[in-house]
């Protein structure tokens, strides 16, 4: 009887743990490791040439045709000021999506160096992003988590995508 009760208890704690687990897709930019909520990831593609958009910041690389939709591509390295890396066929584009207030889905591709893994992170272990001062913008960093002793910066996809829509009302 006692054993059974213990079993149930451990099961319960297990379940509780699972409830707190969130899955993140982790990827690298230079030496740094970042993560995005896996539910925000629509697909992972390889780099292909884009059509440039005139008069926009250089990190907004341009737009591509993704099965009939015009999707903007943003270079995260340049976005975060980590310098430019030549694109190779191995360069990865992570296609992220988000819902706007008006209910329609916005899609955007971000260029990253490589995709590493899908990691389970316990919500409780996520730390708030520290303030690095003005040098690094922590605006789109939701928090920090450690996976196998490495630090992963968790990105806020909503903010990331919204940033590119600056000056646009969501209704359009």
């Amino acid at each position: 009887m006692v054993e059974e009760a213990e079993n149930i208890e451990t099961e319960l704690t297990e379940e509780k743990k699972l409830e707190n687990l969130v899955q993140f897709l982790s990827f690298t930019l230079g030496d740094e490791e970042y993560g995005v909520d896996i539910l925000r990831v629509q697909e992972i593609r390889s780099w292909e040439p884009v059509s440039r958009i005139p008069n926009v910041p250089s990190y907004e690389k341009g737009v591509v045709n993704l099965r009939g939709a015009i999707v903007p591509i943003v270079d995260l390295r340049e976005r975060f000021g980590l310098g430019h890396l030549e694109y190779t066929p191995l360069t990865v584009v992570v296609v992220l999506q988000t819902q706007t207030e008006t209910g329609h889905t916005r899609i955007m591709g971000v260029v990253v160096d490589s995709v590493s893994d899908v990691v389970d992170i316990d919500k409780k272990t996520i730390q708030d992003a520290p303030n690095f001062g003005t040098k690094v913008s922590t605006e789109y960093i939701n928090g920090l988590a450690s996976v196998n002793e490495r630090m992963v910066m968790l990105l806020d996809v909503e903010k990331l995508l919204k940033l590119d829509a600056l000056g646009v009302d969501d209704e359009s």
């Binding site: 884009v50 059509s51 440039r52 005139p54 926009v56 939709a69 015009i70 829509a165 600056l166 359009s172």
Partner: protein
Amino acid sequence: MSIDMAQFHQVFFEESFEGLDVMETGLLNLDMGDVDDEEINTIFRAAHYIKGGSGTFGFTSVSDFTHVMETLLDEMRDGRRQVTQTAVDVLLGSVDCLREMLTAISDEQDVDEARVAEHKKTLEIELNGGEVKTDSATETGSEAVVSEAGTITDSSVNSDGEQGWHIAFSPHAHLLKTGNDPVRMFRELSHLGELTATVDFQGVPGFYDLDPEECHLSWDLKIAGDIPEAEIDDIFDWVEEECDLAIQPLSAKSTKAEQSAATQTVDESIQAKTEKTPLQAETAKPVPATENSKPKNDKNKEAAKSGAKGSSSIRVDTGKIDTLINMVGELVITQSMLSLVGEHFELNKLDQLKNGLSQLERHTRELQESVMNIRMLPISFVFSRFPRLVHDLSTKLDKKIELVLVGENTEVDKTVVELLSDPLVHLVRNSLDHGIEMPADRIAAGKPETGTITLEAYHRGGNIVIEVKDDGKGLNKDVLRAKAIEKGLIDEAAILTDKQTYELIFMAGFSTAEKLTDVSGRGVGMDVVRRNIQTLGGNIEIISELGKGSTIAIHLPLTLAILDGQSIAVGDERFIIPLGAIIESVNVNESMINRVAGKGETFRLRDEYIPIVRMHEIFGVKTAQALKLTDGLLVVVEGQGMRCGLFIDDLLGQQQVVIKSLEANYRKVEGVSGATILGDGSVALILDIPGLVRLSNQ
């Protein structure tokens, strides 16, 4: 009653509105002297359809109203009544009233009861007046009838509205627990007659004290119609113990003896209708008792709102669908042929393959065209309302005007048709009010007494052009200029070309009308017209000659989804210029180029100086090959009345492109109106010519 009738409402409304249009056209076509029986029949059938339909769906107010119209029309049809201008005008007014009622019902708004009653009264006067004096064509005669019949109908309207019962019903809190449902009772009541319910929720306690199983509401019910008290008692039989109930007749004099014969028939028809339509209870919620009509402008606003919503379905010619099915059939055949070739491909089948591919191409193109064609409606959908408008307005303004419609069968995309209607109404009104002179002035100016307004639609290139032409007094440049200076819209020293002067009327807050009429002259409008046209991707231009008349031409793309484009190359980038914007492409030599103050560049093209916009500079294309103006090409484009020469590397080819929004996932980009996907799957940006001109000026 398990069928949800609400699903058919939309269809009913659409068909009713079509019916109203038919009635209107028919009435306008009626020739007083020689009445065409078939014409009256058509009008009658339309009225009958609306009556029947509204009865079925429980819109009793509509069916009652139409019933009176129908009676009138029926007498005309049988030759028992002469068709007089007065009768036609009354009927036209009723058509308007019906349209308002139907719009209100379809928008789930309250019907303007007062207005309906007023129209119904005039109709009944016409109906009764005709019976009293058959030949009451003269003014005095009909006026006498008015007063005479007016009294009869007055009392009839009153008793019509007042006959019935007033029920004060305040259930005790535990009513619901006894298994009684007030809603069910109201439904039964509304089977008996027209029910108006006002709810009193003063007894409802605060949210935290609220027990959902208790009833705190009380009702004030009015039920119209000739109903025995016993029937009402029956309904409340079960709840008598659980409520405070007071049933009183609405009016003491609502006895049958006092009713005129005319009312009786109307009442009977109401009853017949309501009995037939128990459905009413489910669809029509009890109308709140708002006796006083809404302010007029409020109504107008609502009408405008409903117009903007646009109907969601489309009626398609069966022929068009048949073509479509044929196309799909052909496509399937081609596809199976190609897959057969592909299965065991040998080199000697190459011709077959090429053949199949070209067939495939043709079929896809045809399919695309016929699908687009389904969305196309003849412009007569918009034009058809103008005979009425001109008829009404010219009577009001005492002008003699003939309206000529040309090219009514020109087809335009449905969205364009819908959005075009308001601007056109505005332009026609303007022509009527400001353009055409009074008959006396016209004779003095040596013109025929009757003015002509021509509405013409035709295709030109990938555009549809709609012209509103009048032979009136034309625009006076000096007056326009003086007015603009007075209003502070332009500087006194400003030098304007003719075209720029005419464009002044599109500026907000500009009106040249001497005095305000309710037709036009408030100085709002033309700027709105232009904005509307521009949102449709079109433009508007004015040609005018003083004393001879003006022409306002609207240029619109045929469709909003596909565009004829010219693809161009700047470096290794591809852009699309809307074909309609291109005037010509030229190679320039050094002698044509002028530099202005070391900054801007212009070139001379047939005595016109045109500013040059270097595409590679404003779009920052680093790979551009042509850096010297003489090396590349200048494409002369026009947007919003401004011309400029786009300096590009090369022209590539013309093609139809599907317009995709950049803003769906990205944002608006200056100088770009959208994007499209080219044959190789890459994305090309569609240039926004007016935007580019703006950009280059910065």
